[in-house]
Structure formats: C-alpha cells, structure tokens
Symmetry: C2
Subunit: 316 residues, 2 copies
C-alpha cells in the first residue's frame, strides 16, 4: 500500500488534503489510490445539501457540523463551487469559515471547483467523499452552491439529501422547476423568521402531497434560522430518522445504491475517456488547432470528433 | 442530401422539430445531419439568457421574442430545463406559452431537458441552436432554468449572454458566487419595480468595476419589468450594441469563438465516447450488473471502468 493511502487511512489531515488534490487534478495514480481505499468506504453517512444561491446553505452546514462535533462525531465537508467559467478561478465564499474551523482535528473542510474544459467535478467530488469516508469521518456533508444539473448529480449520490428553501419568491415552485423536489429526503425552510414562511411551507406541503413517494417516506419540512442556530437540532433529528428509515428498508434502499453506483461508473467513465483522448492522443495544442478550424468554419466539429475517436483506435 | 435536412433548411417547422429530436435522442444519423447543415450555420445571433430560478427569465425571453417579431426577425427559442433526475421526466414551465406562440410561423420554441444518466444536454442544446440557425432563424435565444455549471456551459456558447438578476437577497453577490458574473455581457435587473432595485444596481456596478473586462466592453445594466414589458427595448438595444461591438473587434472575438469551438468539440467527444461504451460495448443490463457489484462492494468502480475501457479496445 502506498504511503499516502496509509497516512490518509490513519486520518492524517495533510495526507487527506493531498489525496483529494490527486483525485481533483486527475494527476498521479488517482485510480490506484481509490482502489486501495474502496474497501474502507461505505461507513460514513453522506448528507447532501442543495438549494438556490442565497438560501443560506453554508451557514446551515456550519451549524450542522458544530452540532455533530458536540456529539463527538467526525465531520467532513465538501463544498462544491462552480468555477468562474472562462478563467478557471473559483470564488469561494467559505474561506473565512475554513480558517475558523481549521484548528479542530475532528473536522475537515474542502472546497472544490470545476477546473477547465474537461469537466469532472461531479466525479472528483464523489471521490473526495470516498476519501473522507475512508479517513474515518463518519458524517460527510456535501454542499453545493447552485441548483444546476451538475449539482443535482452530485447531491443525489448522498445517502440523505436536504433541500434548502427560503420564504417567498415562489421558491418551492422554482425548486420544483429546477428538478430538486424529487431529490429532497428532507426540506429545510431557512430564514424562517422572514415573512412568507407559512406560505412557503403550505406551498411545499401541497407540492409534496402531489409528488409520488414510492419508498414510503414522507419528507419532513424543518424550519431553520441558521444565522441564530434555530432548528439545527430538528434538522439533525430528521437526518437521524431518515438514516433509521434507510436501515429498516434494506432492499428498497439497495436499488437506490445501485442507481448511485451506476451513475458513478458512468461519471468515471466519461471522465477517463475524455482524458485518454485529450492530453494523450490529442495534445492541447492540437485541440486548439482543431477548434480554430471549426471556429473559422473550415471544418465541422463532428468530423473533428470522429478523427479523435479514430485516434483512440475505436471505430466511431 | 437527406430529405429531412432539405426540409429543415427550407424552414419546415415539423422537420426542424424532428431534427432536434434526432440530436436530442442521439438516435438516427445525428452526426450526418449536423455535418450537412454545418455550412449553413453561423448566421444567427445567438443570445444566451441565464439567472437564478424565479428571476423571470421566461417572461423576459417572451418579451424579447415579441420585440424581434415586431421587427420581422425570425426567432428561435431553446429553453433548457434540467430534468427531474430520478424519473427522467421534465417539468416544463413554458407549455402554455408554447401554445400561444405556436401559430406564428416566424417563431420556433423548444424545451430541452436532460435525459437520464448518459448526459449530453449541453451538447444537444448547442446542436439544436445550430439547427435553428441553419433553418433561418436569425435570432436564437437560449434560456436556462437554473444557474449550475451545466447551464453556464450552455449559455457561454452564445454570442451574447444576458444575466438576469432580481432586486434583493444579495442577488448580485450570489450571482458572483455562482460564477455567472464573468459570463454576463449584459445584466438585466428584472422585477425592477420592486424595493431594493437601486441597491442591487449599486452592488452590481461595484462588482463589475472590480472584475476585469479584458475585451474593452463594459457590461450595461438594464432595468426591466418583464411582466409589463418594461425595458424590453433597452435590452434589445444593448444586445444590438454588443453585436456591433463584436463586429468591430474581429480578432478578439475570434479567440472567444475558438474557445467556444473547443468547448463544443470536448462536449461532443464526451458524449460520443460514453455512448460508444454504454449501449454498444456494454449493454444497459451489464451496466446494471456492474453497478450492483459496486453497490454491494464486491467490486470497486475504478476496476469496472478499466474493464469497460478495455472493451473499447483502448489501453487505459
């Protein structure tokens, strides 16, 4: 076993950070590392937290993390930030909080952002969760900034998903349109000290009553005021309830795990295939040259892709 | 030339609809079709519209479409909706509007949603824009529901991108965090009859003043009240200004087009490679079986992916 793997399994924070960088960059032997740690995964409860920007997710995650720390649990947090698309730079809102929590050995926080045109953020964040799981963090929280398809893909790999809404703006209806209603095992209405909380709650109850709940779980609605630590206990209690529910329904939950595994295989595959093509068979410079010919319309992109696939040695 | 291609180039709405279905499903000869129409593309002005759910983008797009129709332009609209992730069903907010506009021969509206685990929405929506462009729609509007990475990837392929904000909630700051500040060529503050519009405007001006504008364009801020058709003219005028700016700065815009082309090649490649693997080399049933073995932890996903890559005949 690789010494990085050994150290991370022993809970060494620096090794964990380096291992996450390995899976994030795709450099080094990411696959080897992940194969080695795989048998040590599957122990953590993975909590996904999503919702529109501005819903106060970061604060809620901090409250939940503190709640778990008070109970002596080890907490890992992955905050997934979309990158600023053209420069590749990430605007992280949680730098300050990272500093304030960094001294606690029972907590590990990492922000992850999309890097450049080859994608792979969904795959990398799921790998990072596996690393924290293997390193002994028994609660791993994965938090997203926005509510796009990418973010939905990420949180739906969690064991339990909390969708965070805020009062007003027809937020529940918007959540439904954005496709996050169905992935919520628990709903939190944050900023519940604001006007309109009852309306949002009723709207949400109505929407939940018309959606199908094939697994027999009725998603609870928890009101929180994260800035004042209101409702954190209730949220944690709901998460624990859902965990018990999962345990009691082994078979049905298995089918969810199979779906998650399938999704993960496809993500990994997508990522590996593109990296085999661009970087190994086609250099970045060649790719730019190809892009130039498409931009000036001397070639069409479909023929270019066929050429790249041909270089991989597979017939298109 | 295929008769479907001929009909769509002649502007036959039914053929256009079928062609979009072909690129959406990936069935039939999507690549052949797209190669045939490619020489006829690059004429339309492609306008990307993005912003948080609830910002009123759909209404704003409708107003803009009517504005262009009054000027006798032909308008194509692609509304990109993330799907409800587990069932694959899409919740479309624009069914009603589709009906009310459907009788106008100078307008074509289509909603597109992500379909299942193999992805490809970004690629398919860009292909749909190409189809509308080739079919003679000289203004093509591509509108997204949310603000995730996927949506950013889609709108950044547009010639001009409008980011829609609403007053209050620190929306400008949230937009920045969500990575959409840098892709905005024009900002619209919609629902500008609400309280807080000046604050949002000032916040936005401040954020814009600290971001770099390497191309020499200062993104204008337009106040709109889409429900009452307020500000539509000003928005259209800004879009026209930006179009003139693009024309006046040939070289610099070329580098943007090369980036877009590169992005498109990678998206196409990703999509084609995954579909070559799953479906052709590995059946859906086999994939489920593999997922089951990962879910029960008898195999790790990395070895599974190596096996699939091996079956494609390429060494991992």
């Amino acid at each position: 076993m690789n010494s990085l793997t050994e150290k991370l399994l022993a809970g060494d924070k620096r090794a964990i950070g380096r291992a996450i960088s390995v899976v994030e960059d795709g450099h080094g032997d990411a696959a080897g590392l992940l194969k080695e740690i795989f048998p040590q995964t599957g122990r953590a409860l993975v909590v996904g937290i999503t919702g529109a920007p501005g819903a106060g997710k970061s604060t809620l995650v901090d409250r939940l993390a503190h709640y778990y720390r008070d109970k002596n649990e080890r907490v890992g947090i992955i905050a997934v930030d979309p990158s600023s698309p053209f420069t590749g730079g990430a605007l992280l809102g949680d730098r300050i909080r990272m500093q304030s929590m960094a001294t606690d050995p029972g907590i590990f926080i990492r922000s992850m952002a999309s890097r450049g045109h080859l994608g792979g953020l969904a795959r990398a964040s799921v790998d990072a969760v596996a690393i924290l799981d293997a390193a002994g963090y028994n609660k791993v929280i994965i938090e997203t900034v926005g509510v796009g398809q990418d973010e939905i893909d990420i949180v739906k790999t969690a064991d339990v998903t909390v969708v965070v809404l805020v009062p007003g703006m027809g937020d529940a209806v918007q959540a439904m349109k954005a496709g996050i209603m169905e992935i919520g095992d628990i709903f939190a209405i944050n900023k519940a000290d604001r006007d309109g909380v009852l309306r949002t709650e009723r709207e949400l109850e109505m929407l939940l009553s018309i959606s199908s709940q094939p697994d027999g779980w009725t998603p609870p609605i928890i009101k929180t005021v994260a800035t004042e630590d209101g409702g954190t206990d209730a949220l944690a209690a709901s998460i624990a309830d859902y965990e018990k529910f999962i345990d009691s329904r082994g078979d049905q939950m298995d089918s969810r795990r199979v779906k998650i595994a399938e999704h993960r295989i496809v993500e990994l595959l997508r990522d590996r295939l593109v990296k085999l093509a661009v970087g190994e068979r086609v250099s970045e410079a060649e790719l730019s040259e190809m892009a130039r010919s498409v931009a000036d319309r001397s070639r069409d992109p479909y023929s270019v892709v066929e050429e790249i696939i041909g270089r991989l040695g597979i017939s298109p």
